[in-house]
């Protein structure tokens, strides 16, 4: 399959990269803003593909080079023809200090993407809102919550544990409006 790197969208790219890495024995989980893009049908457009893996960067370098993505230092990879940046944040997959072990496998015609569930994606964005007062992250959480089946009660309990019930209530109200 010939890939037009400059035309590709984030979901297609995430599927291609995840599948190619998996074929080479590297399991990944898509996290952060790219999950918001996937779950919001690009209402929010992230330009970063954040993949968490237990494999070493050394092992990833030759595999991604096959797709034209070069390591630009640290844990980042770029392809000059592609507008998206690939990052491998340090493991484990966690939201705050809670490990995440259940993921969603999304089938696309470009391959399977293993990513956070919509509920965990909302928690991940809310964590950024709680920690840094990031309003954009709050908007992302609302976007995902409105378009996907999520477990609000679970999120509420988690927010309570984080001591952020007030901010959670603000989020919940935004979700219930329109």
């Amino acid at each position: 399959m010939k890939i037009s790197w400059h035309k590709i969208n984030i979901k297609q790219l995430a599927a291609i990269i995840s599948s190619h890495l998996k074929k080479n024995g590297i399991e990944t989980v898509l996290v952060s803003g790219a999950c918001v893009s996937v779950y919001s049908d690009n209402q929010y457009m992230s330009y970063d593909i954040d993949l968490i893996t237990g494999s070493s960067i050394k092992k990833i370098i030759p595999v991604l080079e096959e797709l034209g993505f070069k390591n630009t230092g640290g844990r980042l990879f770029e392809n000059p023809q592609c507008k998206f940046l690939i990052d491998f944040p340090a493991p484990p997959v966690s939201i705050g200090n809670e490990p995440v072990s259940k993921f969603n496998n999304l089938e696309t015609r470009f391959g399977i993407i293993c990513l956070l569930t919509p509920t965990d994606c909302v928690k991940d964005r809310l964590a950024a809102y709680f920690f840094w007062d990031d309003r954009q992250a709050l908007d992302h959480a609302v976007m995902v919550a409105k378009r996907n089946r999520i477990y609000l009660q679970k999120i509420g309990k988690w927010a309570e544990k984080q001591g952020e019930i007030e901010k959670y209530e603000f989020f919940r109200k935004k979700v219930s409006i329109g």
């Binding site: 640290g74 966690s94 939201i95 705050g96 200090n97 920690f131």
Partner: protein, 109 residues
Amino acid sequence: MLEPVLGNGTIEKILFSLEAYGQAYPKGLSRTFNISVNGIQQQLARLENGGVVVSAMVGRTRLYKFNPRYSFLKELRVLIKKAMEFLPEKEIQEYYSKRTRPRKKGKPL
């Protein structure tokens, strides 16, 4: 103190500074500890790549803080706090007790 665990003394100084002040920037750390900016930046990059710290530009300075989303932050900070209790008083005064309250522009330091 934690050097055998952390791998080098620069990382230890950075983590102690973050614990003491909440934030740090490469030039300031370099001046305080008389370590090259490059040496400090390398270790900060290591910590950032590992998710231990996060950074953001404030004006023309890149400011580093603990990453509140780091999975083991609570435990790491307990360890740092404990280690800092063992620092000699002189070292605490010299490196980790600087003035952090505001100071009006124009007033002598």
